[in-house]
Symmetry: C2
Subunit: 179 residues, 2 copies
C-alpha cells in the first residue's frame, strides 16, 4: 500500500524532526513549549553551497535516492488538511528515484539548482523561485545538479488518495552529466 | 461567495505575477518559453530587511490589510491539486485582517519575524523556519512584527470548500506594540 510504504521510508524520519505547529501548539510557544525559538540550520556544514531555512533533517534511504538527500517533515498527512509538506535538501549529484503521487505533487524551489523530469518529457532545469507541478500518477524524478545542491519544499495534496509510489533509480544515462 | 471574493482581491494580482509551472510548461523551459531563468527579486529595495525567494508581487487591498502586504501567486486552485499556494511579504507593522479558511491554512515562514493569532488564543511570535496550521473556519490573522518584516508562503488546501472569508481589521489594541 502506498501510504504504508511512505510511512516505512519517510514518516519515521518525520517523527524525529517534525517542526509543525498545530493550532494547539501555536499558543504554547508563549510558554516556551513550542519550537519558535529553535535556531534554523543556516548552512550545510558539509557543503555550504545553498541556504537553509529549515533544519537539514535525516538522510533518505538508499532504496529511494541516489546520493545524499535529507528530508525534514513539516506537516504530516491527516484528514483535516489532506496535505503532506516537507523540505528535501539534495547534495550536488543527488536525486530521487522515479516515482509518482496518486494526488499529484507541487515543488517550491527555495535555493540552488537542480533537475526535474516528467516521464516522456525532456529534463527541466529548476532554480530558486521556481514552482513545479506534477500531475497525479505520472512518473517523475527531481534532484540537484551535479555542480550545485538543491533546496525544495514539497507539497503532496489529496493525501486521502495516497502519498507516493516509488520506482526504479534514475540511471547515469538519464541524469544530465557535468559539463 | 467566498471564492468570488478571493478572485476579486487576490486572483487578479495572481494573473499578473503567477510563477507556476504546469507539467506542460515545465518542458517548455528548455526552449526558452518558461520562466526558469527569471531572476528572483533578491532584496526589497524599499526595506531590505528580509530575503526574497520570489518576486515581490502586488500590494494587497486596503480592505483586507493594514499597512503594506505584497502577494505573489504561485499555484491557482483547481480540481486536480485542490490547493492554492502563494507568497506574502509583510512590511514591518503590516498585517492581514481577521479571516478564516473553509479548508484550513498552512503557513511556512521563510524569513523575518511576525505574529499569528488564532481567535481566542494569545498572539504567537513566528520566525524563519516555523510552520503554522490554522484549522478550518477558525478566525486568525498574521503579519509582520513592528520592527521587522515577514516572508511567508501560504497553502490553502481543500479549495473545493472555498478559499477565504475576510473579516474586520486587527486593531491597534490587538496588534502587539513596539517595545
Amino acid at each position: 500500500m502506498n501510504a504504508t510504504k511512505f510511512i516505512g521510508t519517510f514518516c519515521i524520519l518525520a517523527l524525529l524532526s517534525c517542526n509543525e505547529k498545530t493550532s494547539e501548539s501555536a499558543s504554547e510557544n508563549s510558554s516556551g513549549e513550542g519550537i519558535t525559538n529553535q535556531e534554523p540550520v543556516r548552512k550545510n556544514p558539509e557543503k555550504g553551497d545553498v541556504d537553509f531555512i529549515f533544519p537539514k533533517g535525516e538522510q533518505g534511504p538508499e532504496e529511494n535516492f541516489t546520493g545524499k538527500a535529507f528530508h525534514y517533515a513539516m506537516v504530516m498527512p491527516d484528514s483535516t488538511y489532506t496535505t503532506a509538506v516537507g523540505n528535501v535538501y539534495f547534495e550536488p549529484g543527488a536525486r530521487s528515484n522515479w516515482h509518482s503521487h496518486p494526488g499529484g505533487q507541487i515543488l517550491i524551489i527555495t535555493d540552488g539548482v537542480g533537475y526535474h523530469q516528467l516521464e516522456g518529457k525532456p529534463v527541466d532545469t529548476i532554480r530558486k523561485g521556481d514552482v513545479i507541478k506534477c500531475p497525479p500518477n505520472l512518473n517523475h524524478w527531481h534532484g540537484a545538479s551535479a555542480e550545485k545542491g538543491l533546496q525544495q519544499i514539497y507539497l503532496v495534496p489529496n493525501t486521502e488518495k495516497g502519498i507516493v509510489d516509488w520506482k526504479e533509480a534514475v540511471t547515469e544515462e538519464e541524469y544530465p552529466q557535468s559539463k
